[in-house]
């Protein structure tokens, strides 16, 4: 890896660049993959394709939800989303807007299909809450609108 501030080679796990003292991924002058000079506005390196600013490519500009301590119980979140109100598990996990949309969406689908649609929305909502909670339990952050 190369320092994005000065373009010198740095170790993959280096906390700071030993040439310029900056955080290796904090600069916007060089590509971290091939050390080619880059413009601050670029999102990927046009020579090797490496992401220059990983956050810019994730698709959502919104905040990400950080893992909490103690982590929430994934099955309990699935049960909350499945038993009480669809989307409640997601709301407790921090995905408030997504949870509200799931809640309203499952109600509309349930009413329109006279209850049969619940057979799809119910497991989908519970599995979604389980997988999102599992990601957070494993220490990964999730997006506000990240599904499964």
């Amino acid at each position: 890896m190369y320092c994005q501030n000065c373009g010198k080679a740095v170790a993959e796990n280096a906390a700071v660049c030993l040439s310029c003292g900056a955080l290796p991924r904090s600069g916007n002058q060089f590509c971290p993959g091939c050390a080619t000079p880059t413009q601050p506005i670029q999102v990927v390196c046009v020579k090797c394709g490496a992401a220059l600013n990983p956050g810019a490519l994730s698709g959502s500009s919104g905040e990400r939800i950080a893992p909490c301590n103690p982590p929430r119980d994934p099955v309990l979140m699935a049960a909350l989303s499945g038993c009480c109100i669809a989307g409640l598990g997601q709301i407790v996990l921090g995905q408030v807007a997504k949870g509200v949309v799931i809640m309203l969406g499952s109600m509309v689908i349930g009413v329109l299909t006279m209850g049969v649609g619940i057979l799809v929305t119910w497991p989908a909502g519970a599995v979604d809450a389980y997988l999102v909670a599992k990601k957070l339990k494993e220490g990964r952050s999730v997006g506000q609108w990240e599904f499964f």
Binding site: N69, D73, G82, I118
Partner: protein
């Protein structure tokens, strides 16, 4: 609640989150154990519309289990047993996270088994098998 807790930093947030969750679970168990009758307020929006839902009856089933009426709970909704187990598991995880029993009931295999049982019970209820 989650959003409020996000604003408190570090260890204080962890301690507060743990206490809030413990208090909620203890309050829920106390309510289900001590209440003579259950408030007749369905939490599920479908109950008001008269639509059958795989988890209808779970609250009543949990209440029956805490009163020792296991057969009544089974016929209301088998998911009640899973919810009671999850409540007790969470209580033990929050109070004694490194205990051997806690590690046995709280791991990936137990999680997947519980999730499978949850869906089986829900579909059984929905299809009127129980």
């Amino acid at each position: 609640m989650g959003i409020l807790l996000e604003r408190w930093p570090g260890i204080q947030r962890a301690v507060t989150a743990r206490r809030v969750e413990l208090a909620l679970i203890v309050a829920a168990i106390a309510y289900f154990t001590l209440s003579r009758t259950l408030l007749n307020i369905p939490m599920c929006p479908f109950a008001y519309l008269g639509i059958n839902c795989p988890t209808c009856g779970t609250t009543r089933a949990v209440w029956q289990i805490f009163h020792g009426h296991f057969w009544a709970a089974w016929s209301l909704n088998p998911i009640g047993f899973i919810v009671v187990f999850l409540l007790l598991r969470r209580l033990s995880v929050l109070s004694a996270p490194r205990h051997l029993v806690v590690r046995i009931v709280s791991n990936q295999v137990a999680d997947i088994a519980l999730l499978g049982a949850f869906f089986c019970a829900g579909f059984m209820k929905f299809l009127h098998v129980v």
